[in-house]
Symmetry: C2
Subunit: 433 residues, 2 copies
């Protein structure tokens, strides 16, 4: 929907979703099909002829040509399939209606069946849109909504849950759900698409069908199901706390960091090939869902770099937690001005820790394990109470875990203990030192 002001302007000009419109903004003119919005918007979004959507804020627009017959959502009630598909938005949950060119969230069960008829060969489904956002707009409140929605689906008998999610911050959310929902009785599978379905290179069908297949499997973990290679042949399942998006646009953008994927999945050949150990479903009821969706929104993620200023660190004094993305084995500049007694960055970090803020290290290199024992910088960080020596987490997982731990624990020492205790595979035993 659009803002009420815009909706009334549209009415005046006889404009409906799917119509071809011309917009002016300054000297620039844009033409395309009027797109629907998920939330009240004063920005007009049109699909250009090149397939891209753009959002423009302007009061100058006009009808060029009425669109074809409007999109009709097929009513479809009382569907209670075994696999629950929840829509969070993102590229994957959009589908172009080719008569109008408009993108609709193809998330109602019947829409999904219509868009991807092969789904029914894999599983019976139910589906719900819990919100519709591009994932860069998601925050920890959305993580909570997602966790609660999953919990409800499991209570309601779902034998597996698929989350359709934008790729930008998918692994922040998959990590959050991994901590919020533990001892899982069923698989929770995140799926997205790097290319929207109106582009010939879109991989959303294969990803979604593989995700539904994985949601039926014996896996009882949070996983990310995405293209394994640049061929449309199969997907990898990455552990939710270990997955990372490592390319802006390639289809095979997701990788398992510091480990192998959990499995490869190919719904066509009905194979889920285990590639590393994972938690499994049980029949005896021992996997009883544990829920803790409390989260602390007041955590910063800070990149360490040459010329970083001590005052940047001191400006973090009103956060409850700080995750540093350090250089090398987990370092910050300790002596950047050749004066071993000054250590301005360290002193500011020490102040933060002394004031009760939990400070956690993570690696700028993305891959590998932190180690505070090899160089002086690491030792000094350990001495002032920075958490993370020996951890092999990504910056994003460290950030999400700290936000979650600080949601239920205030005691600094206990926060440190919880951070360094492996909960859901986010920390592995050190293999090297």
């Amino acid at each position: 929907m659009y803002s009420s002001a815009l909706e009334s302007e549209f009415k005046k000009k006889g404009l409906s979703i799917g119509d071809r419109v011309r917009l002016k903004q300054g000297t620039r003119v844009y033409e395309g099909l009027l797109m629907p919005r998920a939330s009240k918007s004063s920005t007009i979004v049109i699909k250009l002829d090149n397939g891209y959507n753009i959002g423009i804020t302007t009061s100058e627009f006009e009808l060029v040509k009425k669109g074809a017959k409007k999109h009709q959502e097929i009513p479809c009630h009382d569907l209670k399939g075994e696999i629950s598909i929840l829509g969070c938005g993102g590229t994957i949950s959009s589908k172009v209606e080719y008569t109008t060119g408009a993108v609709y969230p193809a998330i109602s069960p019947c829409e999904l069946k219509k868009a991807f008829p092969e789904i029914e060969k894999i599983a019976t489904i139910r589906a719900k849109q819990i919100f519709a956002l591009l994932s860069e707009d998601m925050n920890s409140r959305h993580w909570q909504i997602a966790a609660e929605s999953i919990q409800n689906e499991i209570k309601d008998g779902a034998k597996g849950v698929v989350l359709m999610h934008g790729t930008d911050t998918m692994t922040y959310t998959s990590a959050a759900i991994s901590f919020m929902l533990q001892n899982l009785p069923v698989p929770i599978v995140f799926v997205g698409a790097q290319r929207s379905s109106d582009r010939p290179s879109s991989e959303n069908e294969m990803n979604l069908l593989n995700a539904v297949y994985a949601a039926k499997s014996e896996l009882a973990e949070v996983a990310v199901c995405m293209h394994a290679t640049s061929n449309d042949d199969f997907c990898y399942l990455h552990r939710g706390v270990r997955a990372r998006k490592m390319h802006t646009s390639a289809r095979a953008a997701f990788q398992t960091i510091n480990g192998s994927p959990l499995a490869s999945v190919d719904y066509k050949s009905k194979t889920l090939k285990q590639l590393s150990p994972f938690r499994k479903r049980t029949d005896n009821g021992s996997n009883k869902l544990e829920v803790d969706t409390k989260i602390n929104e007041n955590v910063a993620l800070v990149y360490v770099h040459p010329n970083i200023k001590p005052k940047l660190i001191s400006s973090l004094s009103d956060y409850d937690g700080v995750v540093l993305v350090g250089t090398g084995l987990g370092h910050v500049p300790t002596n950047p001005f050749g004066d071993e007694n000054a250590k301005p960055i360290l002193k500011e970090l020490e102040q933060l820790v002394k004031s009760g803020i939990s400070v956690v290290m993570s690696p700028q290199t993305i891959c590998g394990r932190l180690n505070f024992n090899i160089y002086t910088a690491g030792r000094l960080l350990g001495d002032i109470g920075v958490i993370g020596n020996g951890a092999d987490w990504t910056p994003e997982t460290a950030f999400v875990k700290l936000s979650w731990v600080l949601g239920h624990e205030k005691n600094q020492k206990k926060v440190a203990e919880e951070m360094m205790a492996n909960m859901v595979g986010e920390l592995s035993e050190r293999s090297e030192f």
Copy 2:
């Protein structure tokens, strides 16, 4: 050297570098060999029996056993070899003297020859220590010192320059030197080691010898020469503005981002195999070194994440430049609270840009190209003047380039133009869109 207070304490207790000492700090006791320091230090560094160095600040220490004969630097003057080796510090430029266990910077030419006798089979050398820092402590002033030292070596007839550098921030420095010294007449080769030479797994000899071999080659670029694989078989040369450290500890930690390495190098088989196009030496004097070492120290590198606060952005108002490490194709949260008119992060970014600060985007995914044209968030960022649409640089190269461009250019529009103009291979033509 140590602080004068410590030096006088050492004298009182009859302690010299290389002696076995016992330190107490609270209830903890450490024993090892007393190590030398490059700058005045009040932290005592000892080498533990496990080979690791630790730094401890304490006044409780005592002699356990006098060390073996002291390290003697072999005097060696008037050496004017064809390849100049400059030492910046880091793991590679340290060498253990096995009689005492002490690590000395093995950087004088004779020391280098003694440590790595094979060097002479590759090239005649000259060498100089320009500073001795672990690279996490380097800042843009060190980049300038390095650039000026290289310039002097080239003026002085060096046919190639090797920089021994710590790995933590090596690629920040290699990018800085790439911008500061252009139209190179000779190769400038960065080299480091992930494991110190007292560990059996150290790769510093192979890396250094390959770097010297590469410095004799026809390459006329800034390159990083590091282990190619986990076997000790050959090195890759990565373009200085494209290299990135992608693992905390593995020897093959360095990768070329968004491209292939320039070449593989193997001094043993005397091969430098070109893997992608690079600039070459000329005989006609057309490669005449262009020097601009001016740099702006007042640039921030900021990680974008869910729950990022608008006030974090507004707190950047006293920087001259800001590099964002955005999600996906180069995004920030535009509408995290479901209110399309609020856009708090965007508004603060717009304020920064309006106040004259250059704001540049870079990718959190590390790999791939930014694209502001696909999603609304990108378009809005482009509209408010954020720089980087279409760029395929790493966060670190974007940061270094902005620091360098702001060193000589204040006009915001010209800064944007210079940022988006490829100078030394840091931007490639878009291949995809």
